[in-house]
């Protein structure tokens, strides 16, 4: 559905993105993950035909963003980082206006607006002026305008930005409800959101795509070394030495604690089964065995670290 090949964009000589290539299949939910200023919004703006690339090629639904933006605009719904709202309009009149702007059939405008208001939980504020809405509601109206014409491709730039925890859960459910019917590309710097809502992650750093894949596949690819935390009730004599003797364990650190003892193990590959067996055989009273790094967060830091080092090196 979406293909990007060697996309680059420069602003006054500064490269915002540099040679970004990826493919997104129909029905996928893909997340662009990166720090602020990494180039996520620039990629989304190019896909949304808001911006032309300096070089490279991008197609959405088989249409080129360079030569056929009007065809792409019929396919996409776009929510920028700041929702494009007219404060003086009511929610109903705004969504009706956007529906007409997006070529919704005249007879279907009212029903399309009704459906999207249901989806975005906007029924209670239909007659309210947009200027009177809270940030959360404004974001929901922004989502609603992106969905009102039932587009094939939905592009969401930081959709949960500034939302409270309840609103985040609602937004997450809304995005998940789009799975299968729409191709969704969203950006976020909040790692847990990407993990929960996306089938696949594209990690962007300093304008470059540094990794792509599911969280699990990225971890298996990138985490050649893994830090394990081993929690036990007691520490039998020689446990540290026996752990260190496991093939793949490079370092063992003992961390005394209250109501339990902890070992931190630096490993190469997944040796959790062997570690558990050694702890049980030694009679240590196994309480838990977990990865020391926090999933995607650890992965993300690891992915961008080489680039940071390059920048400072």
């Amino acid at each position: 559905m979406i293909v990007a090949e060697g996309l680059s964009k420069s602003y006054l000589g500064r490269r915002a993105i540099d040679g970004v290539s990826f493919t997104i299949a129909e029905g996928e939910i893909v997340g662009l993950l990166g720090l602020n200023g990494a180039g996520k919004s620039t990629i989304l703006k190019i896909l949304g035909c808001f911006l032309l690339p300096s070089s490279g090629r991008a197609t959405v639904g088989g249409y080129s963003v360079d030569t056929n933006p009007q065809a792409i605009r019929r396919l996409i719904g776009y929510l920028p980082d700041v929702p494009p709202l007219y404060d003086e309009m009511t929610v109903d009149s705004y969504l009706t206006y956007v529906a007409k702007l997006k070529n919704v059939d005249h007879k279907s405008v009212a029903s399309s607006v009704g459906i999207v208001k249901d989806k975005a939980n906007l029924n209670e504020v239909g007659l309210a002026r947009i200027s009177e809405l809270s940030h959360g509601f404004r974001q929901r109206v922004g989502i609603a305008q992106a969905l009102v014409h039932n587009p094939k491709v939905i592009i969401l730039d930081e959709p949960i930005n500034g939302l409270d925890p309840v609103q985040i859960v609602e937004m997450r459910d809304l995005i998940l409800s789009l799975r299968g019917q729409h191709t969704v590309v969203l950006s976020s710097h909040i790692l847990s959101e990407i993990t929960r809502t996306c089938d696949r992650v594209l990690v962007v750093d300093h304008g470059r795509l540094v990794a792509e894949g599911s969280e699990a596949s990225l971890q298996s690819k990138m985490f050649e070394s893994m830090r394990l935390s081993l929690d036990v009730t007691t520490v039998p004599n020689g446990l540290a030495e026996r752990l260190r003797a496991i093939s793949g364990v490079s370092a063992v650190n003992y961390i005394p604690g209250q109501g339990g003892e902890r070992f931190s193990l630096d490993t190469t590959g997944d040796v959790r089964a062997q570690v558990a067996k050694v702890a049980v055989d030694a009679g240590a009273g196994l309480l838990g065995l977990s990865r020391g790094e926090a999933g995607l967060e650890g992965l993300f830091m690891k992915l961008i670290k080489p680039v940071e080092e390059r920048a400072h090196g």
Binding site: K9, L51, M89, K102
Partner: protein, 242 residues
């Protein structure tokens, strides 16, 4: 055309749902009223046709000022509020956006003119002027207003915010206004060129006297189309800039 009218309708409603439209309308009518009483009617006896010509002279100035104020927000405000992205990600052309915006400001300008109709109406009722004179004067106000709006709309397309758009629009308009002065001090062929390009002097006078020349209508129409097309190009260029 449908999208053009859709944009125009929303913009026109925006004038009425904010203070901006009412303030511009009230200010224009108030100042026109003052000038009508103080100068067009005045204390000295005048023939009705002269009163009407003087009224159109002052009203033309107010129409141009109102045009700048009406149009300066049209695109600059969208840029300021981040709503321009809605157009760029919707199936609507830059031309439809620009012409829709222009149409809304022109309609609002016509509403102001309609509300000012009581002043020449008084001259018509108590004096001796022809309907043709009245119609020619209002055609001139419409064309001049359209010119001011298109010039200010272009300024709005190239400016980052409303204030800069207003100043830039006024600058362009004043330049076009005073070209006749420049024409007086330069040699041919620039003399003829500047004289022809001046927006008010040569093209305005016949209208105010109740005479409509096709060449003047073509001139004003050309200025409008030129600046509207410049605005279209400016919007198209934004896709390169971001």
């Amino acid at each position: 055309m449908g999208k053009c009218l859709l944009v125009a309708g929303r913009e026109l409603r925006a004038y009425f749902s904010t203070w901006m439209g009412y303030v511009i309308c009230a200010a224009a009518l108030f100042i026109e009223g003052l000038l009508f009483n103080a100068y067009a009617v005045g204390n000295q006896p005048k023939v009705s046709a002269d009163v009407l010509a003087d009224y159109f002279y002052f009203a033309s100035g107010m129409t141009m000022v109102a045009g700048v104020f009406l149009a300066m927000r049209l695109l600059a405000e969208e840029k300021q509020n981040g709503t321009l992205v809605l157009f760029y990600t919707s199936p609507i052309s830059e031309r439809q956006i620009v012409y829709g915006k222009f149409l809304s400001a022109l309609c609002f300008s016509l509403i102001i003119q309609l509300l000012s109709l009581y002043m020449p109406g008084l001259v018509f009722m108590v004096g001796k002027v022809s309907l043709g004179h009245l119609a020619a004067g209002y055609l001139m106000l419409t064309l001049l207003g359209a010119c001011a709006i298109s010039i200010s709309l272009f300024a709005s397309a190239i400016s980052p915010n409303q204030l800069v758009a207003g100043v830039t629009g006024a600058l362009f308009l004043v330049t076009f206004l005073i070209l006749w002065m420049v024409a007086d001090v330069v040699s041919p062929p620039l003399k003829e060129l500047f004289g022809y390009l001046a927006i008010h002097n040569r093209h305005f006078v016949p209208f105010a006297q109740g005479i409509v020349h096709t060449r003047d209508v073509i001139y004003y129409g050309s200025v409008v189309v030129f600046f509207l097309e410049c605005s279209v190009r400016a919007l198209e260029a934004r896709r390169w800039q971001g």
